[in-house]
Structures are given as C-alpha cells and as structure tokens.
Symmetry: C2
Subunit: 202 residues, 2 copies
C-alpha cells in the first residue's frame, strides 16, 4: 500500500484558514487531522481531543525529552506541539494527514520531514486582511494592531511554503487545497505499485 | 502576470489518453493545446490545425535547423514535432498549455524545459489494456501484439514522469489531470505576486 502524505497548513489570523480547513474536512472526512498537544487551560467551547489534547507541563516536557514531537513552541508561558506518532501512524496506513501550525512550527516540520507538503493560506489583500481583523469588533485597537503586525510577519515568510492559496472565497480555497492533496496522491513515487502491477502480468 | 505552465501528457495506446484529454478540454476551454507539426499525409477525418499542422518535409527540416522544435521524432519515414514558439507564447501570456507526446518526445522536452510538468496516463491493469487494444476488433492479431508490446515499453518508462494517472474512469482521470494543473498554479513560484501585493500596502 502506498504511504499517506503529510500536509502542513499555515495562515495568519485573518487568512480564514480555520474556515477553509472546516470546509475541506466536510468534503473529505477520510483525511486525518493532527491533534496538537498543549499545556494551556481549556477554554469555553473547546473539547479534549477535538483540536487539542490538553496535557500537563510535566507530560509535555517528557514528550520533548523522548523526541515525541515533530515541532513545538513555547507561547505566553504555554507549550504547543505536534505529536509525532499519530502522524507516522496515518502515513503508514496510507492516510493523508493535515497538520495546522504557524510558520515556526512549519519550519521545524520541514526540517524533520522534508517530504511534507506545505501550504500557506493568504488573505486576498492587505485591505481585506485589515477588515477581517477589525471585523470581529470585540477587541481594542492596540490588540488589532498587534494581530495585524503578527499576520504581516507570517506573510513575509509565505515564500518558504510549497503552495500558496489565496482565500477570497472559502469554497474555492478549500477546493484548491483539495487539488494540492489530490495531485500529491498522483505523484509518481506514490504510484509505483500500479506500474509494477501492470508489468508483472505480461 | 504569472507565467503559464507546460504540461506534457503521454500514455500508450489503450490508456485512453485522448478521451481523457477531450474531457479535460471540455471542462477547461481556457487551456491551450500544442499543435504538432507533422509531415505525413492528412487522413480522413483530420483537419489542418486541429491536432496537427501538416507541413512539407523541407519545411520541417528547416524548423529543425533553426531550433524551432521542442522535440521531434522520425517515425515510419515521417517527421513529428512540437513547435517551440506557440508553447513560449502561451507561457508568456500566463496560459497553461498541454503537449501530447510519446515517451521519447517527453524525454526531449524534459531536457529542454526542466520546469515542464509531466503526466503519464496508465491503463488500470494489464488485462484491461489488452481488452482495450483487442476491443477495436478491426485489426490483425499480429498488429494487436505489436501495439501491446509498444504500450508495455512505454509503461516501463512511466516512472520518468512527475505524475501517474490511472484511467479506469474517464471523468475521474480528467478530474485528476485537472487537479495536477490547478495545484501547479498554486505553487509558490507562480504566486509570489500576491505576497508582494499584500506586503506593499502595509
């Protein structure tokens, strides 16, 4: 059986990455999603094992020590990381898996798994990025300014990615992401079985 | 404006490549198709400028001399080749272009245009390949045997291609080919404008 592919998806606040990923998973429930391990407290509306596994700081540091993370990051006093084993399991079972991480996490994964395919979700314009960040309407101007700065810093690193998908329409962006995943399934290194199969019969 | 991509599509007799390409062009009339220059006589049902430009041997040899062909081949006394200029024109206009050639032509194009994306259309099995070649029902056993041998020789070189699409269903195979084309449009080297555009405003 052919191995699955690892797809690393990043995108700043305001790129609409989460909505695009939701649309992708609705269309392709067979895709695996990498659940991050994090040490911060659970927030209202979050559920254990949905997007995150909430674990203790001690357990996280144990995972670092035992090389059980593909990437990790310390952010405002809390650890965030991608456990290695579920990714390896999906790949060996022939399932494609999506890992949602920021530009730093993506850079770490690229070093560990050079075969990972990396995709950056872009807002369609600076104006639209600003509008989306302001549009939430619940945060201070200072907070919005910081988010904008952080988004622009991520966008500066978009060229490190294999693919860039501009999200001006969620359905189209999810379809684009699906094209990337589908095309990777068709790459010759994942299709060698069929050549051997046809030739073995003659 | 971003450049167009060059997509080289090959597939042996019995792969159903022509039907897959027809389905692709029906779905995507914006795609350009490279018209081959050939020196053989026009056959019933063929039209000048549709799939081929029918030219004289002298004119063809002139094209070879002036380096106006991306690839060419002499087959049963006739020349077949891919003119370079229409491909360069499509690419510079930002249009994706499909070049349909055999494994030898594809190898020549790969050397001339390393950025070309190459796709091999495969029959789903040896049995199905045999069935399709026999199925025409109009040819001698010897002729079918030769076609099968030639198809298997092409399949032996399928691993030289970037992508392999198994054609067990024409619509699905055309959709796969479209995924390859779409995903190439999303490659970072074709998307750098958007990064610059967003960052230039801030």
């Amino acid at each position: 059986m052919s191995k699955g592919g690892v797809f690393v998806v990043s995108g700043p606040s305001g790129s609409g990455k989460d909505t695009v990923l939701s649309a992708l998973f609705s269309a392709c429930p067979e895709l695996a999603f990498s659940i991050s391990s994090i040490t911060r407290a659970m927030r209202p509306g979050e559920r254990e094992g949905e997007k995150y596994n909430f674990i203790s700081r001690e357990k996280f540091e144990e995972m670092i020590k035992n090389d059980l993370l593909l990437e990790h990051n310390l952010f405002v006093g809390n650890y965030y990381g991608t456990p290695r084993k579920p990714v390896e399991k999906a790949v060996s079972e022939g399932r494609d898996i999506i890992i949602e991480v920021d530009v730093n996490g993506a850079a770490q994964i690229r070093r560990r798994l050079p075969e990972a395919v990396t995709v950056f979700i872009m807002p369609p314009s600076f104006e639209e990025l600003k509008r989306r960040l302001e549009g939430r309407g619940t945060e201070s101007e200072e907070f919005i300014g910081k988010r904008l700065e952080s988004a622009l810093n991520e966008i500066k690193r978009a060229a490190e990615y294999d693919y860039i998908i501009v999200n001006d329409d969620v359905a189209a962006a999810a379809d684009s992401l699906l094209s990337v995943i589908k095309s990777c399934r068709l790459k010759t290194e994942r299709q060698k079985n069929i050549i051997n199969e046809v030739l073995s019969k003659c």
